[in-house]
């Protein structure tokens, strides 16, 4: 049975946790940047010990951080990532419609949406490229 565009859900195309940069709040900024580079994504999800999403750190946060926090790079690299994270980011549930999620991303001007369950635990990441590709391939 084929899935129609209207029926596609976020959970159908999300990047699973093993494809997403996930770090702890006390992970150093330097380590977070390395993790993001390894996954080739412009976002890292920050979770607590139970997997609950605490925030995200994005390429946009890096731009804002460099303009705002004009301290030396060795000091920035040693910062806990949570210091520079966007707290309470926009999130989406896995059972939301994909079309709605894409509309949210367009509305917010963002490329990634953390996907969380009803308890706020991270389940994956909705990245704009595979989301659009899934829609176009239908």
């Amino acid at each position: 049975m084929s899935t129609s565009r209207a029926d596609m859900r976020v959970g159908d195309v999300l990047l699973p946790l093993d494809k997403v940069p996930v770090v702890a709040p006390t992970t150093l900024l330097k380590t977070t940047l390395e993790t993001m580079a390894r996954f080739r994504l412009g976002v890292a999800a920050i979770v607590d010990d139970t997997g609950r999403l605490l925030g995200v750190f994005t390429d946009g946060d890096i731009r804002r951080m460099l303009l705002r926090d004009q301290k030396p790079f060795p000091a920035l690299f040693a910062d806990d990532i949570i210091v520079h994270a966007t707290r309470q980011p926009t999130v989406i549930r896995p059972d939301e419609k994909l079309a709605h999620a894409i509309a949210v991303m367009e509305d917010k001007g963002i490329w990634d949406l953390p996907v969380v369950d009803n308890d706020g635990r991270l389940k994956g990441l909705l990245h704009l490229h595979p989301a659009i590709k899934a829609v176009l391939d239908l």
Partner: protein, 294 residues
């Protein structure tokens, strides 16, 4: 960030000292080296009298082994067994918590059995085995920032201590190398090190040291101690560290930097007043954060 409070004093034989938060400024002070039993007792009695008069919580500091001296001919200390016995006697006689450093992993356990606060020397502040041994004593750890270390990198040393199961740390600034044979104080170090969540301490007498500036001993400019103490207290510290001696020219260690006992009351009074004024200002006007919102 309001630092957590650590408590120094492991039994009811001493008046324990709380360091951090909005607690009173604590004083860590005594002769640099334990010279002999009578001198240690005499200094403890005299310093204790000053601290009671000023109203300042106090931890007696003196070390049994001076492993970082510039010359092999310099006084090295009484050694661990004799030194700890004297510290235990001071502790018992005056009801004051005591602190000493240690520079050999094998000395940590015995030092922790006597001392209420265990100190990691600045030169050893990133040595994992030393930090782990200090943490394993179970005592609060007085961790001095190395003269070569940036304040933000002290977090790595703190995490080594935490990883060994100890979350009672006091971070101290004792100056930063400014070229050779010269130290300066960067007062940004206090708020930066406080970002770890732990209280911070200013080591005034080592900050005025001119390391090994006199051939085979260190010089110093003790005339700057009052200025730096007042500045640090106004900036924001939880504890003040000063080495004190009743006869500085004849002190067996750090003779060029120790504070003369006769000036202690005045310097402590200034420090206490500056600390209390800072807390009053913060209570009235709010925290120091003037950074732009994210």
């Amino acid at each position: 960030m309001i630092p957590k409070t650590i408590r120094v004093g492991y039994d009811n034989k001493v008046t324990s000292v709380a360091i951090g938060g909005a607690e009173s400024l604590a004083f860590l002070g005594g002769p640099c080296a334990i010279e002999d039993r009578d001198h240690a007792m005499r200094m403890a009695e005299a310093i204790g009298a000053v601290c009671r008069k000023v109203g300042m919580p106090w931890i007696y500091k003196s070390c049994y082994d001076k492993d970082g001296r510039s010359s092999p001919d310099s006084f090295h200390g009484l050694g661990m067994d004799d030194g700890l016995a004297i510290l235990a006697e001071v502790r018992e006689a005056f009801g004051v918590p005591v602190v000493s450093d240690f520079s050999d992993v094998a000395w940590a356990e015995a030092t922790g059995e006597v001392c209420d606060l265990i100190q990691v020397p600045a030169y050893l502040c990133r040595q994992t085995t030393i930090l782990r041994a200090a943490a394993k004593t179970g005592r609060p750890v007085h961790l001095k920032k190395g003269q070569f270390m940036s304040p933000w990198n002290m977090k790595n040393s703190v995490r080594k201590i935490e990883a060994a199961g100890n979350d009672q740390v006091l971070l101290a600034d004792r100056g930063t190398f400014f070229g050779y044979n010269m130290l300066v104080n960067d007062f940004r170090n206090f708020p930066i090190m406080a970002e770890t969540g732990y209280p911070v301490c200013f080591d005034a007498t080592h900050s005025v040291q001119l390391p090994t500036s006199m051939g085979d001993i260190s010089g110093g400019q003790r005339e700057f101690i009052p200025y730096l103490v007042r500045a640090a207290a106004a900036c924001g510290i939880n504890a003040l560290f000063m080495e004190v001696h009743d006869d500085p020219p004849n002190a067996l260690s750090d003779a060029n930097t120790v504070l003369d006992l006769k000036h202690l009351e005045r310097v402590l009074a200034h420090a206490k007043a500056a600390h209390e004024l800072r807390l009053e200002l913060l209570a009235k006007w709010g925290e120091d954060d003037v950074h732009l919102p994210r």
